[in-house]
């Protein structure tokens, strides 16, 4: 049978759709069926809307504010990284991305050791300005929620927008300047509209991460802040009120749908924005004058203060003990302890085992999400109802992980195959979150490729697969790397679904961190910090390696 290009990709596009039906629609169906079987008119009383209204409002408020601030922080960084060459750029870039993998307990510990009441920053300020009380008091406030969200998600914005910016042709802006446009007008009227696609996909992802944020709200925000996700968690795990949890989940999904629908417009205007193939960045240069140097120094100082300092404080915490009088002592004991099962406990997690499991889960997730995501993003170009499908593939990102996790449990734990190998559910669950990220990164890139290139290749006798291989993939390598990297680190740092689905025989590094920090004692705390640092190192090394192979392959 000979298939046309359209038919081939229609069929190929069915693979990710089948994946989503099996592992998203089905478990959600099962859980909702259970949740709404007991639905009565009683529960839909006025009291319900009160219960929903306040978390809904706060969820939208904190997510909106977080996204706004993330743009504010992300734009200068994306500009700096796409326009300037400077020493240690890769390291800085990695440092911005690292928070993404950190479990919330670790971030809480890092923030606490910096801006907690006896955090170093407070101690420093108290000493310098002779203050009686710590000047920074942001734990358990909206501020720390916003700060944590910026800390976590800025890299998504910087990487996605920065990659597009680096590949955006510079001529339109130059044309605008010869027509009399100032730098600000150029940015506002030319650059911004041309980057719109990428900005929107980045924003949407950041919004959904903030919108469904759980750990940050729970651990850093404290009990006075209640989001939909936290409410769903309480209703499901503590109160066993599946009906209310179900209603809240549906609201969450509906908002995700509406916002995605509103933000994404049909992006099949192929070739509208010309991206340079790969990263022949015409913009990249050393800072040319004093103004640019000052900008870059300010930018990097902020980056070091905001991103590197908390990471550094973790390393510091993993290497010192503090006695009751506050005296510091250097030690490597926490790292040594990690490798010993001192008390012969059954669930001892050796760092190597945890690393192996985390790494394999992450690699598998990257492969599944990378391949499915590429197929899906490419297939999307060939579907008629693109926008609807685009929004549908985003939905898992805006779905409560508590609800979805329970759906997984109810749907798959009875299946003999998954009983036998329950650990395959972990990368599948991770893929559900990674897939929207990959698709959302790749789709704008795919749609920026002029359809004529594909037509020309087809005319020269290339099969649809050859076109994908020879034309599209080489042109979208950079976004593909970004997508795959996020799939990898999403999985590497994921805790909730992993602990929910995995057996204790297959612990990951984040699970080990939680295991330690759930016990009192300086050594347990220290081991949690040490394990977090190992996680940071593994993540940084993986990212730098990926970049390295990417650059190497490009050169050859």
């Amino acid at each position: 049978m000979h298939l046309t290009r359209r038919q081939t990709f229609f069929l190929l596009g069915l693979i990710p759709i089948l994946f989503l039906i099996c592992f998203y629609v089905l478990p959600l169906g099962v859980i909702f069926q259970k949740a709404f079987s007991g639905l009565s008119s009683q529960i839909l009383s006025g009291d319900l809307w009160q219960k929903i209204g306040s978390p809904l409002f706060f969820t939208l408020k904190q997510a909106g504010l977080s996204v706004f601030l993330t743009i504010l922080v992300g734009f200068p960084l994306a500009y700096g990284f796409s326009h300037f060459e400077f020493k240690g750029k890769k390291v800085f870039y990695t440092a911005v991305t690292l928070p993404f993998i950190l479990p919330t307990v670790v971030v809480a510990a890092a923030f606490n050791s910096l801006v907690g009441s006896s955090g170093w920053l407070n101690l420093f300020l108290m000493q310098v300005f002779h203050l009686a009380a710590p000047p920074i008091q942001i734990l358990n406030t909206l501020t720390i929620i916003l700060v944590a969200h910026i800390f976590y998600n800025t890299s998504v914005f910087v990487r996605v927008v920065g990659a597009a910016w680096a590949q955006l042709e510079i001529e339109q802006e130059q044309a605008a300047s010869t027509l009399g446009a100032s730098a600000w007008k150029r940015f506002w009227l030319i650059t911004l509209p041309l980057l719109k696609q990428s900005i929107i996909s980045a924003l949407l992802m950041v919004f959904l991460f903030d919108f469904t944020s759980f750990g940050v709200i729970l651990l850093l925000g404290g009990p006075t802040f209640n989001t939909l996700e936290v409410e769903i968690y309480q209703q499901t795990t503590q109160l066993l009120n599946l009906t209310l949890a179900g209603i809240l989940s549906v609201i969450q999904m509906a908002i995700t749908f509406l916002i995605s629908w509103f933000l994404l417009h049909d992006a099949r205007t192929g070739g509208m924005v010309t991206f340079l193939p790969d990263i022949k960045n015409e913009r990249l240069r050393k800072p040319a004058n004093g103004k640019e140097r000052v900008f870059l120094i300010a930018l990097l100082s902020f980056l070091v203060f905001f991103f590197v300092l908390p990471e550094f404080s973790l390393f510091f915490r993993s290497l010192v003990t503090i006695d009751t009088h506050g005296a510091l002592k250097f030690t490597v004991r926490f790292y040594q302890e990690l490798f010993q099962n001192t008390r012969g406990t059954l669930f001892y997690i050796s760092p190597l085992t945890a690393f192996k499991n985390s790494f394999l889960y992450a690699l598998t997730t990257m492969l599944i999400a990378g391949i499915l995501g590429t197929i899906a993003a490419y297939g999307l170009l060939h579907f008629r109802k693109t926008k609807l499908l685009q929004v549908m593939v985003i939905l898992p990102l805006g779905t409560s992980s508590v609800t979805l996790g329970l759906g997984f449990l109810l749907t798959f734990t009875g299946v003999p195959f998954f009983q036998k190998v329950p650990q395959v559910l972990v990368p599948i669950a991770h893929t559900l979150v990674a897939l929207p990220v990959v698709i959302n990164t790749l789709f704008p890139a795919f749609s920026a490729i002029p359809e004529n290139l594909r037509n020309a290749a087809a005319n020269l006798g290339a099969s649809p697969f050859q076109i994908l291989k020879k034309i599209d993939l080489p042109l979208i390598r950079r976004p593909l790397l970004v997508g795959a990297m996020y799939a990898f680190i999403l999985s590497l740092g994921e805790f909730g679904a992993t602990s929910f689905l995995t057996r204790p025989e297959y612990p990951t590094m984040p699970i080990a961190i939680y295991r330690y920090i759930n016990m009192p004692g300086a050594v347990n705390y220290g081991q949690a910090m040490a394990m977090a640092c190992l996680l940071l190192i593994v993540c940084a090394a993986s990212m730098l390696l990926m970049e390295y192979f990417f650059e190497k392959e490009k050169r050859t």
Partner: protein, 354 residues
């Protein structure tokens, strides 16, 4: 494209690896049976203890840890039509009647029950058998009270005194199990009618509420590695001993201690039960007997920091030396807890969080 095919091969190998890794355990000479034990995240025990049981009975014991005590129970209730395992350990007296009402257990009158004193045996039908207990208490930072010269509060009432303004951190009972336990202690002390007024006063006296034990202990408590601002935190009576066991430098005495006045602590008892319709009832009975026997019971303190219920079991030295056991911990009838818990929590949230 070479790169893609390389990726595919790597992926296939990975999958194979994942699949083969999980089959390792199942290639013993004589096919052992499998017993699946469901429990919460805090479950821990020595490897040797489990290995011994496995060898004696030619069985492989699989543990599934599924979230905190509440989540674990809810999962079992939701999946009771297709049970995930044979035995469930880890429901406590605050959740007991939800478990019993959901009818997830089969009764089993273990012969070892006679070694357990009666106050622990809450379920007369023996569907849920006590395994261990522990007290949720307020821990305090010894160093803080020593250096400030502040008197250590002895009762719940003392905490309302202005000198303790802003010094106590508690957990949100809607999220955290020790948080709930402490709320129940206040209800035991002041009654359903009086506890809210007490909390209102606590709140007025600078009470700090966080969501979970982690934050309370490591971010807010001044005696932990987090060096937080509050010298008093709701934790466990065993925490001071654990601080010594896991100290960075060897310690002569614990840096913290518990306030063990009347009703300042709440006693949690953890139960085990055989899940309905298990095909492995015989193994499940053996395992429960084993859990209640002295070797297992004596292993509990050092792994889970709880006390054994078997009166023959000896406590380790660390426990007798570094911690205080409350004489009169608070208790509430479990049936009452389960009927009113949601309402109590909601009322508490209205008063304390709003």
């Amino acid at each position: 494209m070479k790169k893609v095919s390389r990726f595919l091969i790597a992926g296939a190998m990975l999958m194979l690896f994942l699949f083969s890794a999980c089959q390792k355990g199942q290639t013993a000479t004589q096919e052992p049976r499998t017993l699946t034990v469901l429990t919460h995240d805090s479950f821990a025990i020595s490897e040797a203890i489990i290995t011994r049981f496995e060898e004696e009975n030619n069985v492989q014991v699989d543990f599934i840890l599924s979230g905190d005590a509440g989540s674990a129970l809810n999962k079992i209730i939701l999946t009771k039509d297709a049970p995930l395992g044979d035995v469930f350990y880890g429901t406590d007296n605050t959740f007991l009647s939800r478990a019993l009402d959901a009818d997830i257990f089969e009764p089993y009158a273990s012969p070892l029950l006679e070694k357990i004193s009666d106050p622990f045996k809450l379920d007369a039908e023996n569907r849920a058998l006590p395994v261990d207990y522990g007290d949720v208490c307020i821990n305090y930072d010894k160093n803080y009270f020593a250096t400030t010269g502040l008197a250590i509060p002895q009762s719940l009432d003392d905490l309302l005194s202005p000198e303790y303004n802003g010094l106590l951190v508690v957990e949100n009972p809607a999220i955290s199990s020790p948080g709930l336990a402490f709320l129940l202690a206040t209800i035991a002390q002041y009654g359903e009618d009086g506890y809210l007024a007490y909390w209102q006063q606590l709140k007025d006296n600078g009470l700090v509420v966080v969501n979970d034990w982690n934050t309370a202990y490591y971010t807010n408590f001044s005696a932990s590695s987090g060096k937080g601002p509050q010298p008093m935190a709701v934790s466990y009576a065993t925490s001071p001993a654990v601080e010594v066991m896991y100290a960075a430098e060897p310690m002569e005495e614990a840096p913290t201690a518990s306030i063990i006045g009347k009703n300042t602590c709440f006693r949690q008892i953890e139960f085990v039960g055989i899940l309905k319709n298990t095909p492995n009832r015989d193994l499940a009975e053996k395992f429960i007997d084993y859990m209640l026997s002295v070797p297992f019971q004596e292993d509990i303190p050092m792994n889970m920091f709880m006390f054994p219920v078997n009166s023959d079991a000896q406590l380790p030295e660390e426990f007798t030396k570094y911690m205080q056991i409350p004489d009169s911990p608070a208790m509430l009838p479990y049936a009452e807890i389960s009927t009113s818990r949601d309402a109590w929590i909601e009322a508490w949230q209205e008063v304390v969080l709003k």
